[in-house]
């Protein structure tokens, strides 16, 4: 599956412009991490990709065809976990997944439901009413419904919110396995998740794409711009973007990103988080 986003802009009826002239190619198999601060336009981009919104300018091509012509086909091949979703409280997990499977037109729904319930570790709650589930369990139901029917295109918006660290690792691995033969778009604030599993990263801010490439490329772009120093004076932080501040018995150890590192800072190997913050902070400075 291939999606081409061509010069897409989106302005809401309120006048707020969420995306500006976006161009992006997404091709399977790939697990793409979508990064960006709040309000950057990530959710708008995902809504455009699931045809919940129509772009005010530009076009989205699905395997070469305009999305509005193949909307039905796209929806049939889509697994989507939105950031903010609800479930039918009166149904059991199995009934809800059965309902979603029918909406998706999944063949052999019973087997598919069994598989996704197992994949998200909800076997014990399969017959429980959704109203009795915890926040994390609901999130897992949401992931399960997205995985139903082995869709070739998956979009996860903050999928690991509400999950404990162990579960997060489980799902990161699941996403990674899933992406072996399909296109997965993962939007998250948790850089660690992206770093662990994504082979591609798209950074978006103020409605525009700021970076596309591999995590390594993003990290490389921050080389020489990450440093650490012992804080002696608050004035030392001026012009720097502090990414970590650790209180130790020897004093406060700060980690910072900046275009130009001060002489008192010792150069450090950048992490993905450093690189991401460096990218965003540069834009803020500009």
């Amino acid at each position: 599956m291939e999606l081409k986003i061509q010069n897409v802009s989106m302005t809401y009826p309120s006048g707020k412009q969420a995306l500006k002239g976006l161009n992006l190619d997404l091709k399977s198999p790939s697990l793409i991490g979508l990064l960006g601060p709040n309000g950057a336009g990530k959710s708008t981009l995902m809504k455009l990709l699931v045809a919940a919104l129509l772009p005010t300018e530009g076009s989205i091509l699905v395997d070469g065809a305009p999305l509005n012509k193949v909307e039905g086909k796209l929806k049939a091949s889509l697994g989507y976990l939105p950031q903010d979703f609800g479930l039918f409280e009166e149904l059991t997990v199995t009934q809800f997944l059965d309902y979603m499977a029918a909406l998706k037109g999944v063949r052999s729904p019973q087997a598919a439901i069994r598989d996704v319930i197992r994949a998200v570790n909800l076997e014990e709650k399969a017959r429980a009413k959704i109203r009795t589930l915890s926040g994390g369990q609901r999130q897992r139901v949401g992931i399960a419904q997205a995985l139903l029917g082995d869709p070739p295109f998956l979009i996860f918006d903050e999928p690991t919110v509400g999950l404990d660290p162990e579960e997060r690792i489980h799902f990161r691995n699941l996403f990674s396995r899933t992406a072996q033969d399909r296109l997965v778009l993962l939007s998250t604030h948790i850089i660690e998740d992206v770093q662990s599993v994504c082979d591609q990263i798209v950074v978006i801010n103020h409605g525009q794409i700021r970076f596309t490439g591999t995590p390594e490329q993003l990290i490389a772009s921050a080389a020489g711009h990450v440093g650490a120093f012992w804080e002696k004076d608050e004035k030392q932080e001026q012009g720097l973007h502090i990414t970590a501040r650790v209180n130790t018995s020897q004093g406060v150890r700060c980690r910072a990103v900046a275009d130009q590192l001060p002489p008192y800072a010792q150069a450090e190997e950048p992490t993905l988080e450093d690189a991401y913050l460096y990218l965003i902070s540069r834009e803020a400075v500009q």
């Binding site: 909307e71 479930l87 309902y99 979603m100 029918a102 909406l103 419904q145």
Partner: protein, 727 residues
């Protein structure tokens, strides 16, 4: 396709909701409201009380409940934010359609369940006049079809506004309109059809057809509105108009909406049931048409062919006139507004004619110019669905294989401006009816079968002498009773046979006619030789002409015959109702003051007591009549609201009217007979009272106010109101 695939799933989901089952259960129970609280059908027939009212109450409650359920269900996906998931998989238009179908199916299941639950209850309450066809049609039309209307209206409100609170307000306002402002407009009261009565003993097809027409008109209208709202379902983050603009790109969608709305509008405008008669009943312009100069009436013949399956009439009428004016003359006829006139000829030649758009008293004006020839034969053909003029009392023009009533211009065009000839308005009417039906002219005329036709019909012929005339026909039983020196032909519906036999109807007729004729005199509308007593389909009252009198079936229902206010056993109540032929019909009473204790009931109950005394003895009459009146009147004087009427005034209107009605009934049925009994004692006994009543019955009537008043009664007895005080 996707809708049909998703439908069972959505239905299953809907039926997994406790709220759905609660709504279904309440709807199934809701007909009970028609037995105790909400009684729009005012007639007292068994089917009105125990079928129409429960079914209509079920329809009103069910439509409101399902409308609220629809709003809740449509809002639930949005409220719980499941729509974010579902819209990513399926178009919101598809899910909306699927949800609507699931709700409609739940409504159908509920209506079916209601019919099953209420079947034994209704059959038990209604008794021997219960029929499956009436039951199914009543629950289907009066209740069942209200539910989808409620769902469509509520769903449309939600799809337009996308707000549950606003939708509920709009939906309730729409329901309230039907229950208040539109309640008397039979086409607009979508929730509560204008059904005032269902007949026990005859068919109800006309009422059912009318309700079906109204329901289908609204079904199309609301389906059209729903389709427009469906096009407004928000998509792609757009507002209502943006979504509408996007949805109408598939041209069949707005086309379906427009077709439904156009169909509804056409059905509304082209309804065949009710005419456009001038609602101002003081206007009688047709009676002011001057008589055609020099034209006299020689005769009329008509061949009438009712189609009892379609409820239509086809006929051919021929009129003979003598025109001595030497000029063309314009002849005016009253025709039923539902009829189309064709092939109008005079002396074999086609002549032009006009039919007025203006209608009055259920007639349109047909005008034909006859030639300046001395002998003119005017022929015409007419056909159509007879229209009525009282939308809130439909059913009078019932036309089925069980019953029909063709009155005046509905039987054949009625000449309005031609002077009678020497023989008056002689007429010869032939009517072809299914062989199960008996033709009964509402006059002294007798109809006879002149041919038995190969198609299973029989042609009847009778002669009459009037410009109009009324014909009843139906599946009647005729009892010939010799009483009061004449032959009583007592016609009642075959379905009512068990009830009539239980009530000892034949004996009662004989006893009453013998007694009343001997004590008060013959009925003025008897010919002296025969009197037809015809049980009519429920009509809101009886009436009489020379040789025939009508008994409204509502007076002879199982419930009425068990009303102990009127007598002890059904036979005595039957006597009571027949006595009304003398007191009520033979002598009329002014009923304009509903609080007055003086009505036809006082003298009727008194006369019933006298007949029962003669039949069963003085002890029986004392115990079951006089003592009971006294007991009820004693209780009446002790009643809190009688002693403190100021508290009655403080009650809510409905409760006040209910209590006042009950108290008024006590005064009419118990206090007044006691007063008449006291008057009997004061004037010197039964014989003296009989003489007084005989004098009153046969008194010369004032044509401007032909009613028997309490003052006349007191004056004739030489008593004052105070003389009859019971305290």
């Amino acid at each position: 396709m996707k809708t049909m695939r998703l439908f069972p799933l959505e239905l299953r989901r809907l039926l997994q909701s406790r709220l759905t089952w609660l709504i279904m259960a309440l709807t199934v129970l809701s007909p009970v409201l028609g037995l105790v609280l909400y009684k729009p059908a005012t007639s007292t027939t068994m089917l009105s009380v125990y079928l129409a009212n429960p079914a209509m109450a079920g329809g009103v409650a069910g439509a409101i409940l399902f409308g609220l359920l629809a709003i809740f269900e449509l809002d639930r996906a949005r409220r719980s934010r499941v729509d974010i998931l579902t819209d990513a998989m399926v178009s919101p238009l598809t899910t909306a359609l699927t949800r609507l179908l699931a709700l409609l199916t739940a409504a159908v299941l509920t209506a079916g369940l209601t019919m099953l639950v209420w079947l034994p209850i209704s059959a038990g309450l209604i008794g021997s006049v219960f029929t499956g066809a009436n039951y199914v049609l009543a629950y289907l039309l009066l209740m069942g079809l209200a539910l989808p209307l409620g769902i469509l209206a509520a769903a449309a409100a939600y799809q337009f506004t996308r707000r549950a609170d606003l939708s509920i307000v709009l939906f309730i306002a729409f329901c309230a309109l039907s229950l208040t402002v539109w309640a008397d407009d039979w086409q607009l009261c979508w929730l509560n059809p204008c059904v005032w009565a269902l007949s026990d003993d005859f068919s109800n097809f006309r009422v059912f057809r009318s309700v079906a027409w109204m329901r289908l008109t609204w079904l199309a209208a609301l389906a059209g509105v729903w389709t427009v709202s469906y096009l407004c379902i928000r998509q792609y983050g757009k507002g209502m108009f943006g979504s509408l603009a996007r949805s109408v790109r598939r041209i069949y969608r707005p086309a379906v909406a427009l077709a439904l709305l156009a169909f509804s509008g056409t059905a509304y405008a082209a309804q065949p049931f009710i005419d456009q008669s001038n609602p101002d009943l003081t206007v009688m312009s047709f009676y002011e048409i001057p008589y055609a100069e020099g034209v006299t009436f020689l005769g009329r013949s008509a061949q009438v062919f009712p189609d009892t399956a379609a409820g239509t009439v086809t006929g051919r009428a021929s009129y003979r006139f003598q025109n001595t004016s030497g000029q063309e003359q314009s002849i005016s006829f009253g025709i039923n507004p539902g009829y189309a006139i064709s092939n109008v000829q005079t002396n074999g030649a086609d002549v032009p004619f006009t039919v007025s758009d203006y209608q009055e008293y259920n007639e349109a004006l047909l005008e034909v110019t006859i030639p300046a020839e001395e002998e003119v034969e005017l022929t015409m053909e007419y056909s159509g669905f007879p229209q009525e003029s009282m939308p809130t009392m439909q059913g009078g023009k019932e036309l089925s294989s069980e019953y029909l009533c063709l009155e005046n211009s509905t039987l054949s065009p009625r000449v309005m401006n031609v002077m009678p000839g020497e023989a008056g308005y002689p007429a010869e009417i032939e009517i072809t009816l299914p062989d199960s039906m008996i033709a009964i002219p509402f006059s002294s005329s007798e109809a006879e079968v002149i041919s038995e036709n190969a198609d299973g019909t029989r042609t009847w012929r009778y002669e009459a002498n009037s410009a109009g005339g009324i014909l009843y026909a139906g599946d009647y039983i005729c009892e010939q009773i010799e009483a009061g020196g004449m032959t009583i032909e007592f016609y009642y519906g075959r379905k009512h046979q068990a009830v009539m036999e239980e009530a000892g109807a034949v004996d009662a007729v004989k006893a009453v006619v013998d007694y009343c004729t001997e004590h008060y005199g013959t009925l003025s509308f008897g010919t002296g030789e025969t009197l037809k007593l015809i049980q009519s389909r429920v009509a809101g009252g009886g009436y009489a002409v020379g040789g025939a009198s009508l008994l409204d079936e509502a007076d002879f229902t199982i419930a009425n015959l068990g009303d102990t206010d009127k007598g002890v056993v059904p036979g005595e109540i039957f006597i009571h109702e027949l006595v009304h032929q003398w007191w009520g019909l033979g002598n009329m009473f002014d009923t304009s003051d509903s609080t007055s204790p003086w009505s036809s009931e006082g003298l009727t109950v008194y006369t019933t007591y006298r007949i029962v005394k003669e039949l069963y003895g003085a002890d029986y009459a004392q115990q079951y009549y006089v003592d009971q009146w006294q007991q009820v009147v004693d209780d009446y004087y002790l009643n809190f609201y009688v002693r403190h009427p100021e508290y009655l005034e403080m009650l809510p209107e409905a409760e006040r009217l209910n209590i006042a009605g009950g108290l008024s009934g006590v005064r009419r049925y118990n206090e007044m007979p006691l007063k008449i009994l006291k008057a009997e004692q004061l004037v010197g006994g039964e014989e003296a009272m009989d003489q007084i009543l005989r004098g009153l019955f046969n008194r010369e009537l004032d044509p401007m106010y032909p009613y028997l008043t309490y003052q006349e009664f007191l004056d004739t007895c030489h008593l004052t109101e105070e003389d009859l005080n019971l305290g």
